[in-house]
């Protein structure tokens, strides 16, 4: 293991040859065995003892014990120290041992999972831990990927396969991976697979989940590899019968393991304060000892020497200096109670008590799922009251991660609001009658819609409404799966797409199935098959996607949906009136915190399409800057479109989120949202939970792709601060808090006005680099709200670390998915939301409960109480020890400094 580690440091590139263990053996790549446990039976005692003695207090008491064994010095019997010390040691050791036992068990379980490995031309069952780089393994549907694999071939056409990456990044949607055409030809042919002898040369093991660069050399050809061909450990294979992959990274080298942050022992600031206090007290003790030892020397000289007739000094050395020296140690022993061993134990007991109070709190119990709050690390309670920064995941933490199609605007008319008899808008409550979808056997039962006028217009056959839903059922990337008759299941890449397609389905435009060339839709009961001519896919720059289909009667149509800003620019001039109307509606929707999309269509003539199709094919085959050519081609056709309307999807917030965020910000706790979602979504959620408001002075958006861009954007934001706030407050721009500036790195500046910062994942990567991080933290901390979107799990942790480093503030991270683990681990306090997305986050967390809103009670009630009580206790404890010990000190002057 050690050799491997050393080796790893040196590894600059990895060369793996398929089916050639001897070749790969030379590099000593780690095999697939993982080890997260700390001890084994033999090393437990020494290692654990060593770790325990690293705690200053324990070491101190060991020294004391040794001193007490010297009879000349001993002023107290030795068992007064050894008994409490042994008790503390035993309890800690037992706790460590059980923890490690669990780790051993889970390691064993994972290491002993079975994988089908191609050995000697045959598929054989092999334990996971024996899988080595270069092996070719076969994966079945719904199984975990055993190691980081290069996808060779799969059961699906074109070597496609679908994976779920929940354990890696927390996203539950399916992702597509595609094998290289040359390798996908291998299929399931064992013989050919066994002969496969490609060499993969790639980057050394790293923790970047979304990047991979490598080259495959095979049959004198060179194929470049990227993340599209990689199946990472921890993913689950879905919707794919089988696939073959070649192991590139195994065990500790896999991206999953590289990404798992090291477990650190979390300490509270009280702990640190206590440690420094104990050190000071120790210094104080030494001072007292020295004073008394000097006193003893003088006393022996002046008084003791004459007192010998009654008190014979039998030792050979009877100089007063030596006596003083011995007395020093005696006093160190006798005054040791000023440095209390029991303090640590008592503090632990108090914290345990607090933890139980949190566990028992009925106000943090979630009745719907029967989940009470749970304290998993009992040592952090009082830190809860000190939290200054809260880092929150979005999906599943702030929101329920349930997208619902809530409102729409079709041809200038909004649907989705409920009006009472007098025509006033009313709140939707339990009494409101939802639309009855029973006419539609394929409707999704969970879908609820309250505006009856929409279904009426559909039934009346309003062509615009029909077109609207036809678009929704055609323009998407959803996959369908019909398990039993009448039970349609959609596999969606993004939940909002799912919401739209489900809405169309309930309104009678049911997307049934797709092939690469066709899309089948059941329109108001009759099956229609459209020829799919082209998909103009979505990306962040285009912010829209389109499909071009041919209806059975030969008409060619382009359907487009996308962000309103980009779509409105590409409308036919005749749409102007409708556009204003719709954009009013869109504003209204967005103000309510909905995610909005605009929809448009365009009728194409056959000649026009054919002409354009040629351009597209040229762009497709062009070698250099293909993406630009494609984008230009798309641009060419997506113009002069006819506006249909807009949709509003609600990403439902959890109950009480808004109130919780409001009270937390009243308590001066800053909330940063770190999410893997795209920027628009994140901003929308920011609005809907009132973290972003229209009254804010400015919302800075940092989305630069290069260091200089990011730097420029940050600088602009900063300038804006000072410029703006100068106007506002006549020179009282900011007051530097003296404390902060003394403490160091970054000045705390209070800026008048509310600001918010939204930063993108790729900009964040630059902002987190050494030369920019100061600036980033400065700007970010001046903002009331910070939203980071498209961040990787590791970046989440880096942001937390950054704030920890520069702000010296207590940070709290809250999340629910596996992608939040590193953030939860690196923050001072990690909180897992239990019950939604699996248990990984909860297992890594210090506290767990079921709903975001309980955070308020945890921080503001339990945190405060714990802190108060702990402080009172500490003050009392120190007072007690001092009064106890200083009496001894005083008595020293009366008993000839003899350490009685």
């Amino acid at each position: 293991m050690m050799i491997c580690r050393k080796k790893k440091l040196l590894e600059e590139e990895r060369r793996v040859k398929a089916n050639d263990p001897e070749h790969n053996e030379k590099f000593q790549y780690a095999n697939n065995r993982i080890k997260t446990s700390k001890y084994n039976i033999l090393t437990f005692l020494p290692v654990n003892l060593f770790e325990q003695f690293q705690r200053a207090a324990n070491a101190y008491f060991l020294c004391l014990l040794i001193l007490q064994l010297i009879p000349e010095i001993s002023s107290l019997s030795w068992f007064t120290t050894i008994v409490p010390l042994m008790v503390v040691f035993t309890i800690t050791a037992v706790k460590d041992a059980t923890d490690d036992c669990f780790r051993h068990k889970s390691d064993n379980q994972v290491n002993n999972r079975q994988a089908e490995v191609l050995i000697d031309g045959r598929l054989q069952n092999e334990k996971w831990m024996n899988v080595r780089p270069g092996d070719i393994i076969k994966l079945e549907n719904n199984t975990f990927v055993a190691a980081d694999l290069l996808l060779l071939s799969s059961s699906e056409p074109h070597g496609l396969c679908y994976i779920e990456t929940a354990e890696l990044d927390g996203e539950t949607n399916l992702k597509v991976r595609q094998a290289l055409p040359v390798t996908s030809e291998l299929g399931a042919d064992i013989r050919r697979l066994a002969e496969f002898d490609g060499v993969v040369v790639c980057e050394p093991p790293n923790n970047k989940l979304d990047k991979f660069t490598g080259v495959l050399f095979w049959k004198n050809n060179r194929y470049s590899l990227n993340n599209e061909q990689m199946l990472l450990r921890g993913c689950v294979l879905r919707n794919t019968g089988w696939c073959f992959g070649m192991v590139i990274f195994a065990g500790p080298d896999t991206k999953l393991m590289q990404n798992s942050g090291r477990t650190k022992f979390k300490r509270t600031s009280i702990d640190r304060l206590m440690n420094t206090l104990v050190l000071w007290i120790f210094g104080f003790l030494v001072c007292m000892g020295i004073i008394l030892a000097i006193g003893n020397s003088i006393w022996e000289q002046q008084v003791g020497a004459h007192f010998r007739i009654y008190l014979y000094w039998s030792e050979v050395v009877n100089s007063s200096v030596f006596s003083g020296f011995l007395t020093f140690w005696s006093y160190v022993i006798i005054l040791n109670s000023v440095v209390p061993i029991s303090l640590y134990v008592s503090v632990e007991v108090i914290r345990l008590g607090h933890s139980y109070f949190i566990n028992w709190d009925r106000k943090m119990y979630y009745p719907k799922k029967d989940i009470p709050a749970e304290v998993r690390t009992t040592t952090l309670n009082e830190e809860l009251g000190q939290v200054e920064y809260v880092f929150s995941d979005k999906t599943g933490t702030i929101t329920q991660n349930i997208m619902t199609f809530n409102k729409c605007s079709i041809n200038g008319k909004t649907y989705g609001d409920v009006y009472d008899d007098l025509g006033w808008k009313t709140e939707i409550n339990e009494k409101t009658v939802p639309v009855d979808f029973s006419f539609n056997p394929l409707a999704d039962r969970k879908f609820q819609f309250y505006d009856h006028s929409l279904i009426e217009s559909i039934k009346l056959g309003d062509s615009m409404v029909h077109e609207f839903f036809r678009l929704l059922s055609l323009c998407h990337t959803v996959m369908s799966e019909e398990k039993n008759a009448g039970e349609l299941i959609y596999q969606v890449q993004s939940p909002d797409e799912g919401a739209l397609v489900t809405a169309a389905r309930n309104f009678g435009f049911i997307f049934k199935s797709r092939t690469p060339e066709t899309i089948t839709v059941e329109e108001m009961g009759k099956l229609v098959t459209y020829q799919l001519l082209a998909i103009l896919d979505f990306n962040n720059i285009r912010k829209r996607m389109s499909v071009i289909v041919q209806t059975p009667d030969g008409q060619i149509k382009l359907y487009c949906k996308g962000a309103d800003t980009v779509l409105f620019e590409r409308l036919h001039p005749s749409n102007e009136e409708l556009m204003y109307l719709t954009s009013d509606h869109l504003e209204e929707f967005a103000g309510e915190g909905h995610r909005t999309l605009a929809l448009a269509y365009k009728n194409l003539t056959e000649e026009h399409f054919k002409e354009w199709f040629k351009i597209l094919q040229e762009a497709n085959t062009s070698l250099d800057s293909r993406n630009e050519h494609l984008a230009a081609a798309y641009e060419e056709i997506e113009k002069d479109m006819m506006l249909l309307g807009a949709t509003a999807i609600e990403d439902k917030l959890q109950e009480g989120v808004t109130e919780t965020i409001a009270s937390l910000s009243l308590a001066n706790i800053k909330i940063w949202v770190l999410t893997g979602d795209k920027q628009e979504t994140a901003v929308n959620i920011g609005y809907s939970c009132h973290m972003l408001t229209d009254t804010m002075n400015e919302i800075f958006i940092v989305a630069g792709h290069t260091v200089t861009e990011v730097r420029e954007e940050l600088r602009k934001a900063k300038e804006h601060f000072f410029g703006q706030s100068k106007d506002l407050s006549n020179g009282h721009v900011f007051c530097e808090k003296m404390q902060e500036s003394k403490q160091g790195s970054v000045l705390e500046e209070t800026v008048t006005g509310d600001y918010a910062l939204v930063i993108n994942g790729h900009s964040l990567a630059h902002a987190l680099e050494a030369d920019l991080e100061n600036e980033f933290v400065e700007v970010a901390c001046m903002c009331k709200t910070v939203i980071c979107c498209r961040v990787t799990p590791l970046q989440k942790a880096q942001v937390v670390e950054l704030v920890k480093k520069h702000r010296k503030a207590v940070t709290l991270a809250i999340g629910d998915g596996a992608n939040d683990i590193s953030m939860i681990k690196s923050a001072h306090i990690g909180i897992g939301i239990s019950g939604e997305e699996g248990m990984q986050a909860v297992l890594a967390s210090d506290y767990s409960f079921a709903q975001f809103r309980y955070l308020k009670r945890l921080l503001l009630v339990h945190g405060r109480w714990s802190y108060f009580r702990m402080c009172k206790f500490l003050c009392y404890f120190f007072y007690k020890n001092f009064s106890f010990t200083l009496v001894h000190f005083w008595f020293g002057f009366f008993c000839g400094f003899s350490a009685q």
């Binding site: 028992w360 009470p372 003899s898």
Partner: protein, 366 residues
Amino acid sequence: MAVNYNAKEEADGHPSGVGAPGGAGKSRKPDNTAFKQQRLPAWQPILTAGTVLPAFFIIGLIFIPIGIGIFVTSNNIREYEIDYTGTDSSSPCNKCLNVSWNSTPPCTCTINFTLDQPFETNVFMYYGLSNFYQNHRRYVKSRDDSQLNGDNSSLLHPSKECEPYSTSENKPIAPCGAIANSMFNDTLELFRIDNETRIPITLNKKGIAWWTDKNVKFRNPSGNTNNLTALFQGTTKPVNWPKPVYMLDSEADNNGFINEDFIVWMRTAALPTFRKLYRLIERKNNLQPTLQAGKYSLDITYNYPVHSFDGRKRMILSTISWMGGKNPFLGIAYITVGSICFFLGVVLLVIHHKYGNRNTSADIPN
């Protein structure tokens, strides 16, 4: 006055939660008990003028009378003290100043003194030593409790703690250790001088030790004989002692380890200046005071050298009251604290009266 922490919010927190979920198995809902929900009654005083001022006055008014009572009681205690060390050359004991242990014949001296006031109740006679470090750690350790408790094996094998006073001439010392070795061995006798005649005053030497010490902690070695000489066979006397432990007294129940003078000495004093009970003078009848006012003389057999370490020896006669011996400090302390409180009360009252109305809601909001 006090704020109730009692959480009023609870009562109907989650009415829906009661019959909550599952049906299958026990709900994990926490119990609704006052303890678990932290609703136990609690209070915290909030200091306002309305609470602090009366408190000061009450403390003042209670403490001052108590202090006066204690002070008067203490003043009524009669106490008389003579330093008979003899450092002063005019002192009759000056000749004995440089006496050494066990000098023969013993040096004796007599000091005359006059009691101006009679001692009405039982009188306690103490000897007092100054600058004597009975509280020194090595001194205090230097004893063997199991030997003193009559343990026969310890008798012959004293504990190491007693070093270097555990053996002498290859025989174990009984009682061993520095404390026993340095036992106070002056003899004090008191006479009343009535018309030039010396009337000896009866000094009671029993009942000066604690009951537990005499009956529990200290015991003579056991054996099948009552003869202490035989029981202490094989041991030798402490180096400084003139005679062995079994010859401390003629009476059997005050001899050996249970000699009360010895027991009193073995209970080490906490401070280098201390007094130890030496004898009791009991009141003979109710008509006469125990010690009348008048002339007395103290005969001292001066055996105990203290001059080498600047020590002092005193003889103290004292009566006691319900609060023990004479101690003016306690009364003075009570009176002082009471007065300060009262004074502060007045000052704060004045301040409150003058400035307190500035804002009527002086209560600190919680």
